[in-house]
């Protein structure tokens, strides 16, 4: 079965600093999803990457998919307290559907003032 390893497991950054979270798959990545979770809330969809080399941005968050490395990275520029939370990557394992996503264990981000 596919496994996703996220690094780092936790991160504390000062407001305004940039940061990167990585997600590495044990198998070929066919579709990679990034979600954010805050305490007591469900997962909020951030971005979906489907093609090798694909890069997407939303506000100050950019995600890239490196198919050859079986890896995706999430980069936050000029972090803000609102970026704090747990970031999860998920992959569909080549089933062709999003019916059964495998998720990483998450990266906990804290942003200090």
């Amino acid at each position: 079965s596919q496994e996703l390893e996220q690094s780092p497991q936790s991160l504390i950054v000062q407001e305004g600093k940039n940061l990167t979270i990585n997600c590495t798959s044990s198998k070929t990545l066919y579709g990679l999803y990034w979600y954010k979770q805050k305490y007591g809330e469900g997962l909020i969809f951030l971005m979906m990457l489907q093609k090798g080399g694909e890069e997407k941005s939303h506000e100050k968050i950019t995600a890239k998919l490196d198919e050859k490395k079986q890896q995706s990275s999430l980069h936050i520029t000029a972090s803000q307290p609102s970026h704090a939370g747990i970031y999860l990557c998920g992959a569909d394992g080549g089933t062709g559907t999003a019916s059964k996503l495998t998720f990483g264990t998450g990266t906990r981000l804290q942003v200090t003032l």
């Binding site: 007591g40 999860l88 999003a98 019916s99 059964k100 495998t102 264990t105």
Partner: protein, 115 residues
């Protein structure tokens, strides 16, 4: 509805009791998913519905767990004879279709605590 709704938001039960967790997906979403999030375990897939049928229930941990979906809408996850290891947050998600091009919308979850 505006989003995926789950109830109850919190459930405390005694070991050995049965519990039912409810999920109301976004109107029109044909695909519905149940995941479990435990401390240190990350998010685990439990079961997926397409309409009222469950093509993939491979993630259900034991025969104490069952789920149904009626009318292509509301789903109920039932855990019989609860055990302490069942304590977790149970998350429901829905999507327009089970295609990888469709994003999943998650509910806020049900925090289950088995004493």
């Amino acid at each position: 509805g505006a989003g995926v709704s789950q109830s109850p938001s919190n459930k405390v039960t005694e070991k050995g009791k049965d519990v039912e967790l409810r999920c109301d997906p976004i109107s029109g979403h044909t695909a519905l998913y149940w995941y479990r999030q435990s401390l240190g375990q990350g998010l685990e897939f439990l079961i997926y519905f397409q309409g009222n049928s469950a093509p993939d229930k491979s993630g259900l941990p034991s025969d104490r767990f069952s789920a149904e979906r009626t009318g292509g809408s509301v789903s109920t996850l039932t855990i019989q004879r609860t055990q302490q290891e069942d304590s977790a947050v149970y998350l429901c998600a829905s999507s327009l279709a089970p295609s990888r091009h469709e994003k999943l919308f998650f509910g806020s979850g049900t925090q289950l605590s088995v004493l």
